[in-house]
């Protein structure tokens, strides 16, 4: 076994080990805990960077061993895996920094950071999983490790949200398991493989394959918050802001979306899925979700709930991109995995800052917040414009690429969906920006800003600024080979042989 084979294992172990250490640390050892957290996060980022570099060079890292008769445990670092792994590793570092600031002086931090690390470990596992079975393993682990984060506050509301969350996700997990078991039943253990496994399937397999596809998507769709299965997401907003950032931007919804990507690309194969007529249905649902989510966001008065519905809408961009079934469209979908992540994490960081510093939860309380917290507000504004799709920000890149892809695939109606969605985005973000920047302050803030100090704690301020900077760069430098778009094009070149 070479070191290369062990890289994915190490990447997993960093956060697992961190979790174990943190759980055993006494509650009062805040500094030591923060140190452990940050060291593990940096270490993991380095490891992932190393793997990204290797994968870029055309190497592959992987390890597998038999687990249950007929089933292998497979970890494999390919280009697609690295997209998600890179996303989660870098956002883990930032979210950790943010969470340290956010949870200052609050109880149960040991518990929080322990489960937080477990959650990141599961995300890493989801990224590196080399077959559906391993994917499922980490997928369920993610469910379990996020539950304590959702109910962290321990209030009745939080506990109710936790219950909703767990009912949705575990049911989804059971459905997914059902699908995996069926698939396994008629074709054995299926490693993820570019091009899929069913390129030349026999005709009598068509009906069961279609059925299994629907079941798999239904199972994964719960986490990806596809419309009728999205109910848990807005409720889970009671969780602390770093958790919301994590749930929305990186871990949970992306796990669902990423799973759908894996199933479509590497189990069925894009062409087969298309040939079975499955992508049409998926595209229709995704389009509906996009519109529905945006429309619902419009009527929310709570900032975090508005952002939550926005997530419902945005995640389906990824799925819609896949359904375009052409290299460009697919690239647009995949790149949104990163772009949506960076934009949404910024928005949630900012929402958290408003709530933590100024006690703002509702949108109509935001009046004049721009002058009190300019840094946060700038970041928020950038991310909001990104969401709307203003050039040259990240969101624009997504929408542009997808639009091109839609034209290439002859699915012109997708353009209409994109336009309507952008208009709706504008409709629910612009009033917020208006309040932040152009309205007079209504009530006195709990604490006024003091000269010579940051508008809020540095731990809280820097993460959104960094992510905001990233989303600008991702837009500006989209054509560079190391940008998300560049990497996605590499994936598409390797994965989709169109």
């Amino acid at each position: 076994m070479t070191t290369g084979a062990l890289l994915p294992v190490f990447a997993l172990m960093t956060s697992l080990t961190a979790a174990v250490i943190i759980f055993t640390l006494p509650e009062q050892k805040h500094q030591l805990r923060t140190a452990v957290n940050l060291i593990a996060a940096v270490l993991k980022l380095l490891l992932v960077g190393l793997m990204i570099w290797g994968v870029f060079q055309g190497r592959e890292y992987g390890i597998s061993f038999p687990m249950i008769p007929g089933v292998e445990f497979v970890l494999r670092a390919d280009a697609l895996a690295m997209l998600f792994a890179g996303l989660s590793a870098s956002w883990w570092l930032l979210t950790t920094v943010y969470a340290v600031g956010y949870l200052e002086d609050s109880p149960n931090r040991s518990r929080f950071f322990g489960f937080f690390s477990l959650c990141v470990a599961s995300t890493m596992g989801i990224a590196l999983a080399g077959n559906l079975f391993t994917f499922f393993l980490f997928y369920e682990m993610l469910t379990l490790s996020t539950y304590p984060l959702v109910v962290h506050r321990g209030t009745q509301q939080a506990l109710r949200a936790g219950r909703t969350y767990i009912i949705y996700t575990l049911t989804g997990g059971a459905v997914l398991l059902f699908g995996i078991a069926m698939l396994h039943g008629f074709s054995g253990d299926l490693p993820f493989r570019p091009g899929g496994h069913f390129a030349d399937m026999s005709p009598d397999l068509q009906a069961p394959l279609t059925l299994v596809f629907v079941i798999l998507i239904a199972g994964l769709g719960v986490k990806a918050a596809i419309v009728p299965l999205h109910g848990w997401l807005p409720t889970a907003m009671v969780a602390p802001a770093p958790v919301s950032a994590l749930l929305h931007a990186v871990a949970v919804v992306k796990a669902g979306a990423f799973g759908i990507v894996r199933v479509v690309f590497e189990i069925y194969g894009l062409e087969t899925a298309n040939a079975l007529g499955l992508l049409w249905g998926l595209a229709a649902i995704a389009a509906f979700t996009i519109i529905y989510g945006s429309a619902r966001a419009l009527s929310q008065s709570d900032l975090k709930r508005r952002l939550a519905f926005s997530t419902v809408s945005q995640v389906s961009y990824i799925i819609l991109g896949l359904c375009l079934a052409g290299p460009v469209g697919v690239a647009g979908g995949l790149v949104h995995l990163v772009h949506q992540g960076v934009m949404k994490i910024t928005l949630f960081f900012c929402a958290g800052n408003y709530a933590e510093t100024l006690g703002i939860h509702r949108i109509d309380e935001l009046d004049g917040a721009g002058r009190r917290m300019p840094g946060t507000s700038v970041a928020f504004t950038l991310a909001a414009f990104g969401m709307i799709g203003t050039p040259p920000l990240a969101g624009f890149i997504t929408k542009w690429t997808m639009g091109t892809g839609a034209l290439a695939a002859g699915m012109d109606w997708v353009i209409a969906v994109l336009v309507i969605s952008s208009l709706l985005n504008a409709a629910y973000f612009l009033p917020v920006l208006n309040r932040i920047w152009f309205r007079e302050q209504k009530n006195a803030w709990p604490e006024e800003r003091q000269w010579g100090r940051f508008e809020t704690s540095a731990w809280l301020l820097w993460p959104p600024l960094i992510t905001a900077g990233f989303l600008v760069l991702a837009g500006l430098l989209a054509s560079a080979s190391f940008s998300p778009l560049g990497w996605v094009e590499l994936i598409v070149a390797r994965e989709v042989d169109l």
């Binding site: 509650e27 008769p69 518990r111």
Partner: protein, 489 residues
């Protein structure tokens, strides 16, 4: 070497039962530590021998079957012997610190504990129908004695209920043995199986099989004959509950499974197989639903046993008249379910005992806010719960997966409802406990941390049950080992 190992395996628990009977609680504890060490080592060595050389028959007293009693030492048997050694050692060590040494009657825990262990080994290794009966009685009576320990009114009620059920079950089994002896003139299970194979004139013994399965199902607390279990397992001291749930119910199930696998094909019927599976399925739902409604923590765990036992009975429909591959999967699933449930349930009862000790109440609601103190036992409880829910990578998941595959392969898709629905239901009752522990607005301000040694034991068991899913393949390869000389299964 092998002969000595076997002698040690059979002798140690019985001898230690006598030794501890003569000692008081504290001295008995020290003596027990030594015994546990010996017994675990012997079990490990025997396991290693079988892994290396394959299984063998062990004629007791030098008399071959059918005249004498032969033990069959194959892969499955030694796997269970080792499992018993692990779980019993954990429960025994835990009990040594958990039970109050100053209560006079706790000294009797040790001899009963050792007799129970001895009885379990008799059952795992037994190949003689009557010997199995005696083994069952050995287990039942010592288990009843352990439940009744302390002699409080509720405990006595539970113990009596348990005793009555166990006696009825044993008699039904014995009646089946009587019919088998009348038909075949032999008591050796493999002898009967080969006689059946030669001239399948098993007329009349079909009813005997039904009787035995019924009796054993009663002792295993299969729905709707489960009503004795929750009071008994709920009221016993936690280490005792761990032993009962983890091992004792498995003993009678194991006999039922062996009977079925050896004699089920000629003597069973489709209706019987499906009926047993159906009852198992109903047990999964009923037990889960009841667990969700219990107020006492240990009652939740006890009802969860009723549910988990239900899964085991899917073995029957999935091995009757099915393809060899599917039947093998079902057997593997059963084995994994037995092992993982034993580990997880023992971990759960032991940690439940610790939690009860910590908060001073046995109610689920009393756990409000305890996660604030990060009790180690809550983690153990949680990890064990993951295995019960059947989420990966636990042993419970591996078992569920194999059952799923077997159901799909045999076209008996209706069991999927049981497997998936049951998992969700168990998630519901496990999360009810988690949820309680996360409540913040409680006025709990003091929390008694039990000794680390009490907390570490359930954690080890829980981790083992968690890791079983990752090690399932090697474990199952041992289970498949039969006899070196090619006879037997």
């Amino acid at each position: 070497m092998t002969l000595w190992l076997m002698a040690g395996l059979l002798f140690t628990p019985l001898a230690w039962a006598v030794l501890t009977l003569l000692a008081g609680f504290r001295r008995g504890r020290v003596v027990t530590w030594l015994g546990i060490a010996i017994q675990v080592l012997v079990s490990l060595a025997l396991w290693a021998v079988v892994v290396r050389d394959g299984g063998f028959q062990y004629p007791l007293g030098g008399w071959q079957a059918p005249l004498g009693i032969e033990l069959r030492v194959d892969g499955l048997a030694v796997t269970f012997v080792l499992l018993t050694a692990l779980v019993a050692a954990a429960s025994g060590l835990h009990a040594g610190f958990y039970l109050d040494p100053d209560k006079q009657w706790h000294r009797y825990f040790w001899p009963l504990f050792w007799f129970l262990w001895a009885g379990l080994n008799v059952v795992w290794l037994g190949n003689d129908l009557f010997n199995l009966y005696v083994g069952l009685e050995l287990i039942s009576l010592s288990a009843v004695g352990l439940v009744a320990l302390g002699g409080q009114s509720e405990a006595l009620r539970a113990a009596l209920r348990y005793l009555m059920a166990a006696l009825l079950g044993s008699l039904a089994y014995l009646l089946g043995v009587a019919l088998f002896y009348g038909e075949f003139g032999s008591l050796s299970l493999s002898g009967i199986a080969s006689a059946l194979g030669q001239d399948s004139s098993g007329d009349g013994t079909g009813f005997a099989l039904v009787l035995m399965l019924f009796g054993l199902a009663l002792k295993t607390a299969l729905f709707p004959m489960h009503r004795w279990l929750p009071p008994a397992h709920g009221i016993a001291r936690s280490p005792v509950s761990a032993l009962l749930s983890a091992l004792v119910v498995k003993g009678s199930f194991y006999i039922a499974a062996r009977l079925w696998l050896e004699l089920g094909a000629p003597l069973g019927s489709l209706a019987l197989a499906q009926l047993l599976g159906l009852l198992g399925g109903m047990a999964v739902f009923w037990g889960g639903w009841q667990a969700l409604r219990q107020r006492k923590l240990k009652q939740v765990v006890a009802y969860s046993s009723v549910a988990q036992i239900g899964y085991l009975f899917l073995l029957f429909p999935l091995t009757w008249n099915t393809t060899e591959a599917a039947a093998l999967q079902a057997q593997q699933a059963m084995t994994l379910q037995v092992i993982s449930h034993a580990l997880a349930k023992a971990a759960m009862f032991l940690s439940a005992g610790n939690l009860i000790m910590s908060v001073g109440s046995n109610r689920v609601n009393a756990l409000a806010g305890v996660s604030h103190f990060l009790p180690f036992s809550l983690f153990s409880f949680g990890l064990a719960g993951v295995s019960l829910m059947g989420l990966p990578p636990t042993g419970g998941f591996a078992a569920k997966w194999l059952f799923l595959q077997a159901s799909l392969a045999t076209g008996q898709w209706w069991w999927l409802v049981v497997l998936l629905g049951g998992g969700l239901l168990s998630a519901a009752y496990v999360f009810r406990v988690y949820r309680a522990s996360f409540v913040e607005d409680s006025n709990i301000d003091h929390f008694f941390h039990p000794a680390r040694r009490l907390e570490i034991i359930p954690m080890i068991l829980a981790l083992l049950s968690l890791g079983l899913g990752l090690m399932a393949e090697p474990v199952l390869s041992v289970m498949a080992l039969t006899f070196a000389n090619g006879e037997g299964t």
